[in-house]
Subunit: 224 residues, 2 copies
DNA sequence: GCTAATTGGTGTTATCTCAACACTAAGATA
DNA sequence: TATCTTAGTGTTGAGATAACACCAATTAGC
C-alpha cells in the first residue's frame, strides 16, 4: 500500500522545558486558549511542518516560547495512544529541553499565557501531558547521575556551590561538598575562569562548562 | 489551527527484532518487494492503523513476521528527517524486540523473503535502517548492564552457563564464572527449577526468569 | 577597626565493592 | 575404570567510595 493511500494521524512535537528557579525544578507550561482542554495548562508544542525535521520542529517551538536557541534538547518518547487527543488521532513526539536559570519567558507571539510551574506543584494538565512531564523528570534524574547535563540548567558561569546546589535539587538529596568537588573536577567537564564572584561570605571562583568535554555518558557514574 | 487542516506526514512503526542464534546476535530483516529500495533488506514495519496504539502496531508487525506474542518490546527512537523516505514525509517510530533463541521465522503472510542476519555482517539496508539497527544494538548493550533484559533472548528454561554465554556475546567480552553467578543470584531475577539438563559433562540445573522480579533498572549495575 | 557571621575551599581514613583466582563434583565416553 | 567434559563453589587483595573537620576570605554589625 502506498503511503499516500493510508489514513494518516497528525504529528506534533511537544517540548518539556525544564529549568532551575527559586531552588527548585520548574517546567514551562502554556495555557490553552482553544478547545480541547481550553483553559488548561499544557506542555508547549505544535504540528510538525512537512519540510522540517522533528528536532527542528522542537527547536522552533522552544524558540517561540522562550526566545532561546542553542539549548540542550533530547528526544524523550513518542506518545501515540488513540484517544489521547479528542480531535482525532494525534501522535506526539516529546522532547526534553534544559534551559539556563535566569530566563524570562517571552510573551508568546500568539498571546497565550505562559509561566513556570514548580514540578512539585503542577496544575491539572491537558491531554496526557502529566505522564509526559513525569517521564521527563525521571529521565533527567537518571541522566544527571552519569552524564553532565546538569550544567545546562545553569548560566554560563557559576560557582561550585551553585552547581552542587543544582545537583542536590535535581537528585533530591544532599551531597558531600568535598566528594562532590573531587568528582566534578575528576570528570573534567568544567574549568575555572579568571573571575571571582563576591557576595556574603568569602568570594567564590567562577567556573564554566568545558565545551570540548565529552560530557555525555561517562563510563562511571558521577554520583553513585 | 485544527489538526485536520494540516498537511500530515505518514507514520510507521519499525521493529528491530533481535535474537541470539549460532552464538551471535542476529536481527530479522525482510527483503522489500516494492519500491522504494526494492530488493533491499529492511527492518520489518508498516503503517500505524488509526485505531491502534503504537505499541499495538509494533506487536502486530512482530507477530506477522515471527508468529510470536508476549515478547520484550520497547520503544527505541522516532526517526523523522524529511527525505528519509523518497515517497514523501514518513515518520517512523522504531521499537526494539528481544525474542527467545530457537525461533523459526514464519513464512511472511505477504510472501516477502525474511531471514536472520548477523549483526556483524549486515547487508546494505533500506532507508535509514542502518542507523536504526545500530541504535538498537547500542541500547541493548547499554541496557543489559543494569537491567535484566538478557533473559528475553533465551528460552524459558536455561542453564547458568547458557545465560553467561548470552551475556558474553552481547557485551562482547568474557565474564568470570563465579562473579557472574554471584551477581545474577544477588540480583534475584532468576530462580532454580526442579529440572536438570544432561549433556556432555556434568548435568546442569535449569533456571527460569522470575516473573515477579523487578527486572528493570536495578539501582546498581549488574556488570560494571 | 574589631568581632562575629557567612560562605569558600581543602585531605585523610575506614569501609565497602569489585575483580582475580583454582579446585572438587557429576555424569558421559572410551 | 580411567579420562574427559562441563557444573558448581569462597576467599582475598586492590581499588573505589563515603564519611568526616578545619582554616580562609570576605561582609555585616557593633
Amino acid at each position: 500500500m502506498a503511503a499516500s493511500d493510508y489514513p494518516k494521524p497528525s504529528v506534533t512535537v511537544d517540548v518539556v522545558i525544564i529549568t532551575l528557579r527559586a531552588e527548585e525544578l520548574q517546567v514551562l507550561l502554556v495555557k490553552r486558549d482553544l478547545a480541547p482542554y481550553k483553559g488548561r495548562w499544557a506542555v508547549p508544542g505544535g504540528f510538525v511542518h512537512l519540510d522540517e525535521s522533528l528536532e527542528t520542529a522542537a527547536r522552533r517551538e522552544l524558540h517561540e516560547e522562550t526566545g532561546v536557541a542553542d539549548v540542550y534538547l533530547e528526544q524523550l518518547y513518542t506518545f501515540g495512544d488513540p484517544g489521547r487527543d479528542p480531535r482525532g488521532r494525534v501522535i506526539s513526539v516529546a522532547y526534553i529541553a534544559l534551559v539556563p536559570a535566569p530566563l524570562t519567558v517571552e510573551a508568546g507571539s500568539d498571546a497565550r499565557e505562559a509561566r513556570w510551574w514548580s514540578l512539585s506543584k503542577l496544575p491539572p494538565l491537558a491531554f496526557d501531558h502529566d505522564k509526559m512531564v513525569q517521564l521527563a523528570l525521571t529521565r533527567l534524574r537518571y541522566k544527571i547521575e552519569y552524564s553532565a547535563v546538569g550544567f545546562r540548567l545553569l548560566p554560563e558561569c557559576f560557582t561550585l556551590s551553585e552547581l552542587q546546589k543544582a545537583y542536590e535539587i535535581i537528585l533530591g538529596e544532599p551531597l558531600d561538598k568535598r566528594n562532590f568537588r573531587r568528582r566534578i573536577m575528576e570528570a573534567e567537564v568544567i574549568e575555572p575562569t579568571d573571575d571571582i564572584r563576591a557576595g556574603e561570605g568569602r568570594p567564590a571562583r567562577l567556573y564554566r562548562f568545558r565545551r570540548d568535554a565529552v560530557a555525555e555518558v561517562k563510563a562511571r557514574r558521577l554520583f553513585p
